[in-house]
Symmetry: C2
Subunit: 144 residues, 2 copies
DNA sequence: CGAAATAAAGATATTAAACTCTTTTTATTT
DNA sequence: AAATAAAAAGAGTTTAATATCTTTATTTCG
């Protein structure tokens, strides 16, 4: 469904949200270990997320990545769009270039309903929500 | 969602179904042109579909690919499994290795319902159905 | 200010997917 | 039987995604 970069990004965003409470910052090394991602690769991804303001960062000693309430409102959908573009939002599920409402592919209408639910899910689940869910203990990210 | 190979395969299967009526066979060249796919690449894919008996073929002059009623019952799901494996059926949508019913990721339960509908869609849509739908004129594959 | 810690940026390497080319096998037709 | 048409098989190339390495810029702290 999503690219590896995007999956890493989602995990990293959740991780930073969990760890950056109380103004703490999280280093690349920490993120890489905590999410079991390749360090230099996740560094690139965090850079991109930073550029797009989905996460904040400061350089230098005691620096790292962190979030404020604003960044905690980032949805999974925002992360997906930032890393993978809007393919899953606009492309035909069978890959037909000409598929549209007017010239639908054979599964267009049926998939439309499913896609709508998928998008809804990606949009209303925010990093902040996850924080709460994870704190409650009914959801897990262990050995991410 | 699906690999390029898989998308080509779905298109090709639909194309063969449409063209192989009345015991006619369809050549690789014909499939490639008809589905706007790279000829040598689709050849490989058809080979694989043939090996897995999702389509039939005969070599030699006047040979090509074709389907009987049995192959027309192939579902999109069958094609996806044949080409892309069962990733979309079993993998966590966020890519978490440890996500399961007992240790769900934060969107596990929510995605479960969506995934079920997706799988249902892929399973009940068969190549044969498409044939009928396309004949009826309410669905399209033009400029595939 | 100088040293150290950290992210940012840039460049390179590896791998897997996508795609192409060549040869072989099989069947058909004449 | 020979010629031909087609798929099957094998080998190779290209491209994009993934991953790593190196250098630079920024910030903090002694």
């Amino acid at each position: 469904m999503f690219s590896k970069s995007c999956e890493y990004a989602i995990k990293a965003m959740i991780y930073v949200a969990q760890k950056s409470k109380d103004e703490m910052r999280v280093s690349i090394k920490d993120i890489a270990k905590g999410t079991d991602s390749p360090e230099h690769f996740i560094a690139k991804i965090m850079q991109e997320l930073g550029r797009k303001r989905l996460v904040l960062s400061v350089k230098g000693p005691n620096g790292g990545f962190y979030m404020t309430d604003k960044e905690l409102q980032t949805s999974i959908s925002d992360i997906v769009r930032a890393l993978d573009g809007d393919g899953i939002y606009v492309d035909c599920v069978l890959g037909l270039k000409t598929c549209s409402e007017k010239t639908p592919c054979p599964v267009h209408h049926e998939y439309k309903a499913i896609k709508a639910k998928l998008i809804q899910m990606l949009e209303h689940n925010t990093i902040g929500n996850f924080n709460e869910k994870l704190d409650s203990g009914s959801f897990f990210l262990k050995n991410i």
